[in-house]
């Protein structure tokens, strides 16, 4: 294209000189007269040697009779006679080829810096096709001022940037820089590689993202992609357009994992109402399980559902982090409760006596061990404890489902040194850490009849 224009100009020049004015055959004081080369002085921006009539700075007469000239030196040496030699690490490709005239008029121009095009942007677009179809353009691209980020000739920085990437973007995006400075957790690319996620010229996505989340995020976060796409139980929201950004903030956060808000707040954005898990299964509104409850399970109290749930996806029931049985009644096995033992000591159910490990003991007799560690009818964690929240201390259930009963009461009463349970499972029994209850004294109640009620 440029070559064609140059050829056209040369032909036009030759034609006009052939038609209009005869070439002088003697040396004259000035090349620019009313008859010759006057067009050079008619433009607003004139190259200094032209303006000063110092044509010999660039042109050397070779034959006065034929009015032919040669350059005093070939490009780029010709220009470097006056303009600084390029010495930086990165040089514009056009200059590497010695073609200053790819961008500049040598004599005069209608445009600043003797450019061939009205704006820097239009000039650059002659060779560099950037963001042509983009719907979201970066400000400098939109106003056609590439030189706000790039130098035209040479730079110490890759892509002829005016500054390093760690400085360039925040030079204008000052607020981002100020906010990031106060953040404990910062997304790694934010430090020096904004272009890792944003196209600096323009893109078809909001905020000029190179792609929309999660596709934008997955190339770096491959583990999350795998978890999201291959887990048996997948968190649908992650795969939705913009999914990652529904919980994470892209630049920086005061909390880990760049969370956009408190985890339970994020979860309850959707789980404040029933959610369909599969076409045949609806997850009830989670909020109903914790609303107005007196005692909250640690992770809930800490506002962190991710204490137990894998937020992107999991092979476990309900996207749990580790094993936990889906069924209410299940024989006890440590491996079934890896989730609980992810925070609570396994020793809790392994040791028959303790004076410190748990408060659920009668003297030093570990009642967790007693309830759980049995070959037959060993109780599971959820047989007594409510997972998310309860109105009873120690997250003890108000009731358990049993047979046709949906809610067989447990009747737990905590005391300063122990407690009392009177569930449907067994006769009322107390325990006391300081003055152990003597269980060898059998209550004179109809034990044999009630024994038939022990859940299996």
């Amino acid at each position: 294209m440029r070559q064609n224009i140059t050829m056209l100009l040369i032909l036009l020049g030759m034609a006009s000189s052939a038609v209009c004015v005869e070439k002088p055959q003697t040396e004259s004081e000035s090349c620019v007269t009313s008859e010759c080369h006057s067009e050079h002085l008619s433009k607003p921006v004139i190259h200094d040697p032209v303006n000063e009539g110092s044509c010999e700075a660039c042109h050397e007469l070779t034959d006065v009779k034929t009015h032919t000239f040669k350059f005093t030196e070939e490009e780029p040496g010709l220009c470097i006679q006056c303009h600084d030699e390029l010495s930086k690490a990165y040089v514009h490709g056009a200059l590497d080829d010695g073609e200053c005239r790819q961008c500049h008029e040598p004599h005069a121009s209608e445009y600043q810096s003797l450019l061939l095009a009205p704006t820097v942007g239009e000039m650059c677009m002659e060779c560099h096709e950037v963001a042509e179809e983009a719907t979201h353009l970066h400000g400098p691209t939109a106003v056609g001022e590439c030189s706000l980020c790039h130098t035209a000739h040479e730079s110490d920085h890759e892509n002829l940037l005016t500054m390093g990437l760690d400085e360039l973007c925040v030079f204008c995006h000052v607020t981002t820089q100020e906010e990031v400075a106060g953040m404990e957790f910062v997304h790694e690319p934010v430090r020096d590689n904004c272009v890792g996620c944003h196209d600096p010229h323009g893109a078809n996505n909001w905020t000029m993202l190179k792609a929309e989340a999660p596709e934008m995020c997955f190339p770096c976060h491959e583990d999350i992609q795998t978890q999201t796409q291959t887990s048996k139980h997948q968190h649908n929201v992650v795969s939705e357009p913009g999914g990652c950004l529904k919980c994470h903030t892209p630049h920086g956060s005061s909390v880990k994992f760049l969370l956009a808000s408190v985890p339970t707040t994020l979860c309850l954005t959707c789980h404040d109402k029933a959610q369909g898990v599969t076409p045949s299964e609806v997850l009830p509104a989670f909020i109903d399980q914790i609303k107005d409850k007196t005692y909250l399970h640690g992770p809930i109290k800490e506002d962190d559902c991710s204490g137990c749930h894998m937020t992107h996806g999991s092979d476990q029931f309900r996207m749990l982090a580790q094993a936990y049985p889906a069924e209410f009644y299940s024989s006890f096995d440590e491996t079934k409760y890896e989730l609980c033992f992810g925070c609570h000591e396994k020793t809790l159910v392994r040791t028959s006596t303790t004076d410190a490990l748990t408060d659920f003991r009668n003297g030093t007799q570990n009642l967790h061990f007693l309830h759980v560690n049995k070959e037959r009818r060993g109780r599971t964690c959820r047989a007594c404890h409510q997972t998310h929240a309860s109105d009873q201390p120690k997250h003890i259930r108000m009731s358990v489902p049993y047979g046709g009963w949906k809610s067989l009461p447990i009747n737990f009463n905590k005391t300063d040194t122990g407690g009392l349970c009177s569930p449907g499972c067994h006769m009322a029994k107390a325990y006391d850490r300081q003055n152990a209850v003597d269980y060898t004294v059998k209550p004179a109640r109809r034990r044999t009849r009630l024994s038939g009620l022990v859940p299996r």
Partner: protein, 340 residues
């Protein structure tokens, strides 16, 4: 039939008992509450040396209960070290850092020792005595007490806000200034950069850069965008007025008067910028007296601005007062070329 009768009996018993045992809990919790005094304890550390914590030591206690069997123990160590690393080195000696391990796992111990930013103790606790003294329920649990032994923080289970809370409480315990108070440490703050002010500032920055490239038209457009976004910002109004004046946009002179007449700024330099633009605008609309007043006020506020003197010269010239105009132009030249 038998089952139904049994069920009925059980239900009656349960209902009776439930009326006997109902009521509000008034008992104390197992886990040591924040505000209580940390119990003094002793143990043997991993090197076999005896270790004892006493409140009279006057040291800040950071006690982390860990287990290699439990998730997140390693992350808890990182959170503790992250907080400790932000403490001035000379204050680290005021800290007593101990990790209570339920199992002496080599990998976890090596990791704790390798990354330690200060002196630490790894304590064994196979009988759960320290665990019991502090009423620990889950691991990891991180506890911080102040110099008097008052427990400031018990953070169990590695929640999302563990790092900021531990850091904030540690600074509180060490009586070091920290910009996030402990009660605010759990509040999630994010980089938003999407406020109106942030967007307006970006356009303003672009406007200035474009002016630097002599792209007056696009620069004014950017400043106008900034003004549309944030019309209440004095900075934006002054910058737009300044640009319109600099570009000599005669048709915009009434706009500049409207923009800047009510703007309030703090520095003399900004006040002078406003007076310069108002001086130019008033002259353009023919209000020469007001123009002179503005420019004279501007010169008082910034006597080093050649533009103010130049504009004043133009006002005097418009008033056909050549002598004063020449004086003002001359002063402007003196400021541009101080060497004479």
């Amino acid at each position: 039939m038998e089952t139904t009768r049994n069920s009925f009996v059980a239900m009656v018993i349960v209902l009776v008992m439930s009326t006997m045992t109902g009521g509000e809990e008034t008992t104390s919790p197992r886990r040591i509450p924040e505000g209580a005094l940390a119990p003094e304890f002793s143990a043997v550390d991993v090197t076999g040396q005896p270790y004892a914590y006493t409140r009279s030591s006057g040291k800040v206690l950071i006690l982390a209960f860990l287990s290699s069997q439990q998730r997140h123990s390693q992350e808890a160590v990182e959170s503790v070290y992250r907080a400790l690393s932000s403490v001035p080195a000379d204050r680290l000696t005021s800290c007593e850092v101990a990790f209570v391990l339920q199992d002496m796992d080599n990998t976890l111990m090596t990791s704790i020792q390798k990354e330690a930013p200060c002196a630490i103790h790894i304590l064994g606790n196979d009988q759960y005595h320290i665990w019991g003294q502090f009423g620990i329920i889950a691991t990891p649990t991180v506890l911080i007490s102040d110099r008097q032994g008052k427990v400031l923080c018990v953070k169990p289970g590695l929640a999302y806000d563990e790092a900021p809370v531990i850091k904030s409480r540690l600074f509180q315990a060490l009586e070091l200034p920290y910009d996030i108070s402990p009660d605010k440490a759990s509040v999630v703050r994010t980089v938003t950069n999407s406020t109106i002010s942030a967007k307006a500032n970006r356009h303003l920055k672009m406007a200035r850069l474009l002016m630097g490239k002599n792209r007056v038209g696009p620069a004014i457009e950017q400043a106008q965008m900034a003004y549309q976004l944030d019309p209440g910002s004095p900075e934006v109004a002054v910058a737009l007025g300044d640009l319109l004046c600099l570009a000599n946009r005669v048709d915009q002179a009434p706009v500049v008067i409207r923009l800047l007449s009510e703007v309030s700024v703090q520095t003399n330099r900004d006040k002078a910028r406003i007076n310069l633009a108002l001086g130019w605008a008033n002259r353009e609309v023919g209000k020469l007296e007001e123009a002179e007043q503005c420019l004279q006020a501007g010169i008082q506020q910034d006597p080093t601005s050649p533009r103010l003197f130049f504009e004043l010269g133009r006002v005097y010239q418009a008033c056909n007062d050549s002598e004063r105009a020449m004086k003002a132009y001359f002063r402007a030249l003196q400021l541009v070329y101080p060497e004479g």
